[in-house]
Subunit: 140 residues, 2 copies
């Protein structure tokens, strides 16, 4: 058993990673889940970049299939679902921090230079802190 599973394009780890999040939207969703605590469909839909409803729904399904997120009903409101990152997703934080640092440097983002400095001078603490926050929120 197990999912139908598309064949891998190659056995390269980068290629493997890109099969999961190598598109214009998946990492935006993961950013919101991991770094902004957006855990509901509606919150994720309101991302700054303007994701379409069908694209969001499809990405959430893929991420659940790949076990990067879990989906459960909100006990307080049975219409809503709560999406939480798994440990597999929490493991992406170091990569997201590096991607963020590169983006800040490359786009000359003054507003984010505080983050950049921290990423450069105390990377490990920054990552541990972010991951701890996520694990606490998701009770992992």
């Amino acid at each position: 058993m197990g999912s139908p599973a598309e064949p891998r394009r190659s056995d390269c780890p980068i290629s493997f990673a890109l099969e999961i999040f190598g598109d214009r939207w998946t990492l935006i969703v993961l950013r919101d889940l991991l770094l902004r605590s957006h855990n509901r469909y509606r919150e994720l839909l309101e991302c700054d970049e303007g994701i379409a409803t069908n694209v969001l729904a499809e990405r959430l399904k893929r991420l659940e299939h790949r076990k990067l997120i879990t989906r459960k009903r909100d006990p307080a409101d049975a219409r809503q679902f709560i999406y939480l990152p798994t440990e597999l997703a929490v493991d992406l934080v170091p990569m997201l921090v590096e991607m963020t640092a590169w983006g800040i440097r490359t786009s000359n983002n003054k507003a984010a230079s505080g983050f950049l400095k921290r990423a450069e001078t105390e990377r490990d603490n920054l990552i541990a802190e972010l991951q701890q926050k996520i694990r606490t929120a998701a009770n992992l």
Copy 2:
């Protein structure tokens, strides 16, 4: 002056980065340029994942526009062009190392566990070494 430039989707650094390499192919090309020393069109075309000729040509143009690579004629064979990463691309190595590490962990890639161990125990050395190799090859 300056390129026509598409509008940014948001001012988030991750979003900015994804506008440059948030698709199924750009990071494959950068991987080959940075980590495999594939510097010619034909070499890049022969990547394991099987990129199409038109897609490769378009991605190379974009990367040159964004100043992640340079393109110059091979003095030894005027039919060929040599594509070299710029410092902007070399700066992506930390992110690529983290992506590789995640991919190895997540896909249980036994063959690459040596790389993973190095990434975990002496990350800074590994990155510096990779970057030095690239800079030397590209004489930056």
